[in-house]
């Protein structure tokens, strides 16, 4: 019976210690939300610069206050190519809304001419940008294609997706959610 009592005492000690830790955390670790740029959900989306097809430098701060879908792609990536028509469909659906679709070609790992030819052949009309300096690839730690970031109107990354899974239905739902955030 004393063994049972010893175990019960251990349980009580752990519960008291845990309650104490909750109180200690409330005093010492009531951490405020920090604004820090990192390419992961919950953090501020890193600022970046890209070029449009005319060579004009576009800064991400231009889209401040708008939800952004940042889609990084290359012309040699078959999954990227399978997603592009879905992006076009979503763009047509949402182009009148205050939301920014950015398909950023990671040009250091691609040939810009080939990418431009691919866009022209398929008559995509959504905004295409070129990461000529590797700014997006570095700041967003892009290691696989496509990598997609959904950024809300406050500039916080709400989702990071590597690879496929970007069906039209999924993109439409996420766009609606982001517009709801707006």
């Amino acid at each position: 019976m004393s063994k049972q009592r010893d175990i019960s005492i251990i349980f009580i000690i752990i519960l008291v210690f845990s309650a104490g830790w909750i109180a200690y955390s409330a005093i010492n670790y009531s951490n405020p939300i920090t604004n820090f740029e990192a390419p992961f959900p919950g953090f501020d989306a890193p600022q970046f610069s890209v070029s449009d097809s005319a060579g004009t430098i576009i800064n991400s701060s231009n889209f401040h206050g708008k939800p952004v879908l940042l889609f990084s792609w290359t012309s040699w990536c078959p999954i990227c190519k399978s997603v592009m028509p879905n992006l076009q469909e979503v763009y047509l659906e949402f182009q009148k809304n205050d939301i920014q679709i950015m398909a950023v070609n990671i040009s250091l790992q691609d040939q810009v001419e080939v990418a431009q030819e691919y866009i022209a052949q398929n008559q995509f009309t959504f905004p295409i940008y070129y990461d000529l300096t590797g700014d997006v690839a570095n700041k967003y730690n892009i290691r696989g294609f496509p990598t997609t970031f959904l950024i809300n109107s406050e500039g916080i990354i709400i989702e990071q997706l590597v690879g496929g899974g970007l069906s039209t239905a999924y993109l439409l739902t996420q766009m609606s959610i982001m517009l709801g955030d707006n």
């Binding site: 049972q4 909750i22 955390s25 670790y29 939300i33 990192a38 992961f40 919950g42 294609f145 899974g165």
Partner: protein, 251 residues
């Protein structure tokens, strides 16, 4: 963080890979445990598979119901193979209910089943936390400790690795105590399951303040800590009852 492993032209999602490995190891260890307990391993395994299937279907249906307007325009997209269109909370709820119904039907709704499921989950838990580290989710707050991980130029607590280590310790302790299920624990029915729950809640309670963006109530208190403390207290109470019952039975 390593969200993707590149093998030539193939990019493999690390999070999914780690979870699959954890799932398979978990099933393997649970079967070994069931054999040592002379319980029906295949029934228990089937329960997990049914629960998984029901959970996935429910997760998709939950997602569809939330965004019904999109799917009314294109109903076929309900069957899309996309792994992103899932409502996790609803999926988990239905998965648990399915497991309970299956266990009830097969007459295995007892403490021994909870122990077996805990063995499975105790292997899946470290895999889950490691996969969160790989994908860069559930990050810690900034720190100067020497074991901090660098996240976009800032040192932070590796909270996922703390939980990975803690849950791995539980698996190792269970394996060592039972000498990999060759020795039965005295009075153990339900104790492994409740110990796992307690250990997990205790670990999360301790680590919670180190999470970035931990939800706060009343301006100071980490709300999830209160939740974990409640579960911890409940599982201790149940263990206390079980131990006393077993003690009474042994008299």
């Amino acid at each position: 963080m390593f969200p993707v492993i590149n093998i030539g032209p193939i990019a493999i999602q690390t999070q999914g890979l780690i979870l699959i490995i954890g799932f398979l190891f978990g099933i393997q260890l649970m079967n070994q445990f069931n054999k040592s307990e002379s319980t029906n391993a295949s029934t228990m395994e089937n329960m997990i598979y049914w629960s998984l299937i029901a959970g996935i279907i429910a997760a998709r249906l939950g997602f569809v119901l939330i965004h019904i307007s999109v799917f009314l325009k294109d109903p076929l997209s309900i069957f899309s193979l996309s792994t992103t269109m899932l409502d996790n909370s609803f999926g988990i709820l239905v998965g648990v209910i399915t497991a309970l119904i299956y266990a009830q039907k097969k007459e295995i709704l007892n403490w021994k089943t909870l122990d077996a499921i805990a063995i499975f989950l105790s292997v899946l838990a470290p895999a889950w936390f490691l996969s969160l580290y790989a994908s860069g989710k559930m990050n810690g707050i900034p720190t100067n400790v020497s074991w901090a991980v660098n996240l976009a130029g800032q040192n932070r607590h590796p909270t996922q690795l703390y939980l990975f280590g803690s849950s791995l310790v539980f698996v190792i302790v269970i394996l060592v105590i039972t000498q990999i299920f060759k020795r039965n624990l005295p009075q153990k029915q339900g104790i492994i399951g409740l110990s796992f729950l307690s250990w997990l809640c205790f670990s999360l309670l301790i680590i919670q303040p180190y999470f970035e963006n931990s939800p706060i109530i009343l301006n100071r208190i980490h709300s999830m800590q209160l939740f974990y403390w409640s579960i911890l207290a409940l599982s201790f109470y149940l263990m206390h009852l079980l131990l006393n019952k077993n003690y009474g039975d042994n008299q």
